[in-house]
Subunit: 466 residues, 2 copies
């Protein structure tokens, strides 16, 4: 968690653009003191973005003009590519100081992006304490609490008095991620309680920590998935959650600001899945080149295309009935479109319900049953529009009847599959988002076309329509 | 922001279920003291959920057993429907005390859900101070900072010393939403600076607030959209952001915990739009009945159906070429499917880019141009698979050529439209999410079928294939 520092309230993108332009002018003119004055009231994240939008050649120059403590904070906010540029252009002493002073969690995020060779060199040059912490964090799996946490927290002992504890907070405030959540550990570093700075400043200064702390603590373990960490902080309105290892020893904390980024990333991932786009590591679609973009999209397109090839095969195999009544083909897009839309709706609400944990209260079978009913009901509603239209454009009662009957069958099936497949994937511990709208829609195509043309053949044979 | 209180770390849904079952058994047995012991270590949000899952008849009974200060917190976490049940079952004195003690922001959220008659009665019975605050908050438009904020914050004066300020914090800690962000105002309540409790405990106790506060403050105004408030807190890693009125007077603060819920709600809204589901007020799809569900889905389905009816009309108008070569129809689903998927991908990344503000750096025209190129490139990649398949299944070079040519045209157009339409909507200050995957997919259908059958007719006439 960063400390608050001001900036006048204008839209942040306008502000950044303004700062970036002035910065460039001043740097070219060599007015370095003016740069310092310009950047003084600007928030670190805005400075980082302004530096990121400068030409590469002057980025290091601008960065060197920052105050040392601010430089570290700004560096943590820079994009990975700008961080790398700076590493190449700064002197090795400057780099070392920077990397040494970064928060452990931000350092690990930087190391994730750097080439292994550079990481090894930087690790070797860190102080023993920071090296140990960094190596430890790098050892946890990606997207777990262990990777997300920081090891800079304040731990107190039960025998401390409130005033002693406040003195500890004062003394360590500059070097820690948050001073608002305080943790109490025993001699073997087991987490025994928590208290907030709010509690600490309001209680009698002589009371002992043991008496004012809360003994039952919500904690996560180092291998807890980052999404679950985010849910815990969100659910309980925490500012931070402690992370313990397998022996219940306190090893770090995850703060709310990191969790907000996780929530946004997970939402992007779900949305991308709903649009058949593979989410990247750093979620920066708009900074990747055309080939990276194509790579992230073509796999899903090919899978869906293969399914669609099945639809072509089904139609080709039913060409007898199509030869008889060419106009049957006019309703293929409409029927598979309606089915696809109903199925997409069902999978959307179910996938979102799974990730916000709201579906759990309902139970799997009731959720599927409700969606099937909704699909049937929606199909009947749509029928009112489709039947006369198909009858008129299709030019025969047979086309109207075939389109109407299959419409209701398709929407019911699509809604059932749209609800059941993500739930099945979730049960099998696969990502339910893989069964999102594009997949459901395409699966509906094959089945829908088959139902429609079979119904038409059957009507043609049995009722001698026409 | 709530104060931390413990609960042993098990999965929250298991915990809630366990608590709920034990609670019900104990209530039926009349062991009220055991209920108090059971609930002592449980977090308020978990108690709220456990009470919500009890039969309606015993909810009020369980609620009455809570300690008074805890009852208010639990009440704030209850679902709107359970809050209403309790209002009907508690005595009017109990209700009044409850509503009087709630945070203003949570009270406003409750009043939003209650019938106007009940709100008027409750408002009349509130103390003058709370009535004034509530009426003021209810006056702001929904989904703005004014509606989201709380008026319970700590304001200091510049002439206070750090130790005086700390005394004020101590004294008002119980009655305020957060003690970690402190605000400095002048005599006419204009916001002149901010400081954090972290700053306050670390500075010399004799220094004056004027010397230690930050004068440039990021603030939002009462009519700022809640999504922008969320972006500000997320961007700057704040715990709270001050809200000022038109005269720059400090009127409230929005805290990070409320902002997390906004971020999740906005993500749900975007995801629902991507699945052609209308998002409800309270986002609780799984608690609404079948007719509410149908109402939230049928409007989009009808709009999309109307567009699909256009596709039928296009095919019907081109039936001459279909009569000539029936197998052309076999590739209609494949072509519009591929185009729809590429268009859905483009609209997904653009809409997400707009809502996370990542697209702004790129510029509108470059974003569209990149997507068009991506569409062309992806079309050419898919062509490698489609051409031989269409030639073979279609049984003639004409079908293969028509399918291949139109495939590339359709994917390019779909990607362009998928990027351009959300951006156009954003420019026109409409919600870009309306131009999400389902709409783009359906629009692609009409145009795609037209291009395909026109290409086939043209090839048939000019090259005498067959």
């Amino acid at each position: 968690m960063k400390q608050t520092k001001g900036a006048i309230a204008v839209s942040s993108s306008e502000l950044v653009e303004m700062v970036s332009q002035q910065l460039q002018t001043l740097l070219i003119a060599g007015s370095y003191d003016a740069v310092k004055i310009l950047l003084e009231p600007v928030q670190p994240v805005d400075i980082a973005e302004a530096i990121g939008s400068l030409p590469r050649t002057v980025q290091a120059l601008a960065f060197r003009l920052l105050r040392k403590d601010e430089a570290i904070e700004v560096y943590e906010y820079l994009d990975a590519s700008v961080q790398q540029t700076l590493l190449e252009r700064l002197r090795s002493g400057e780099i070392l100081e920077l990397v040494e002073e970064m928060s452990p969690d931000d350092r690990v995020r930087l190391f994730d992006e750097l080439p292994a060779k550079v990481v090894r060199r930087l690790l070797a040059e860190l102080s023993p304490a920071e090296r140990r912490i960094t190596a430890q964090l790098l050892g946890y799996e990606a997207e777990t609490a262990g990777r997300l946490m920081t090891t800079k927290f304040i731990d107190l002992k039960e025998f401390h008095s409130a005033s002693q504890a406040l003195a500890i907070v004062r003394c360590r405030a500059r070097d820690t991620e948050t001073v608002y959540s305080l943790y109490v550990t025993d001699r073997s570093r087991h987490l025994t309680g928590i208290l907030s700075l709010r509690d600490l400043v309001t209680v009698d200064p002589d009371s002992s920590i043991a008496d004012v702390m809360t003994r039952e603590v919500v904690s996560v373990s180092t291998d807890t998935d980052q999404e679950e960490v985010a849910r815990a902080i969100q659910r309980y309105d925490f500012l931070a959650v402690p992370v313990v290892d397998r022996e219940q020893r306190l090893v770090g904390i995850v703060t709310v600001d990191d969790v907000i980024d996780v929530i946004e990333k997970e939402a992007t991932r779900d949305l991308y899945a709903a649009g058949a786009v593979q989410a990247g590591d750093e979620d920066d679609y708009f900074q990747s080149n055309l080939f990276t973009i194509a790579r992230r999209r073509v796999v899903w397109l090919l899978i869906l295309l293969a399914a669609n090839a099945g639809t072509s095969a089904v139609i080709a195999s039913q060409q007898a009935v199509l030869k008889e009544i060419v106009l049957l083909s006019a309703f293929i897009p409409l029927l598979i479109g309606a089915g696809g839309n109903v199925g997409a709706q069902s999978s959307t609400v179910v996938i979102r319900g799974l990730s916000t944990k709201r579906i759990q209260n309902l139970g799997v079978w009731r959720a599927i049953w409700r969606e099937s009913l909704a699909g049937l009901f929606l199909g009947l509603l749509l029928l009112i529009g489709v039947l006369p239209w198909a009858w008129q454009i299709g030019g025969s009662l047979l086309v109207g009847a075939a389109a109407g009957i299959s419409l209701v069958a398709i929407t019911t099936l699509a809604a059932t599959a749209g609800a059941a497949l993500p739930l099945l994937f979730d049960r099998m511990s696969l990502d339910p988002a893989l069964m999102s709208a594009p997949f459901i829609t395409t699966a509906t195509d094959v089945v829908g076309v088959f139902i429609y043309l079979q119904t038409a053949s059957w009507l043609l044979v049995h009722f001698r329509f026409h």
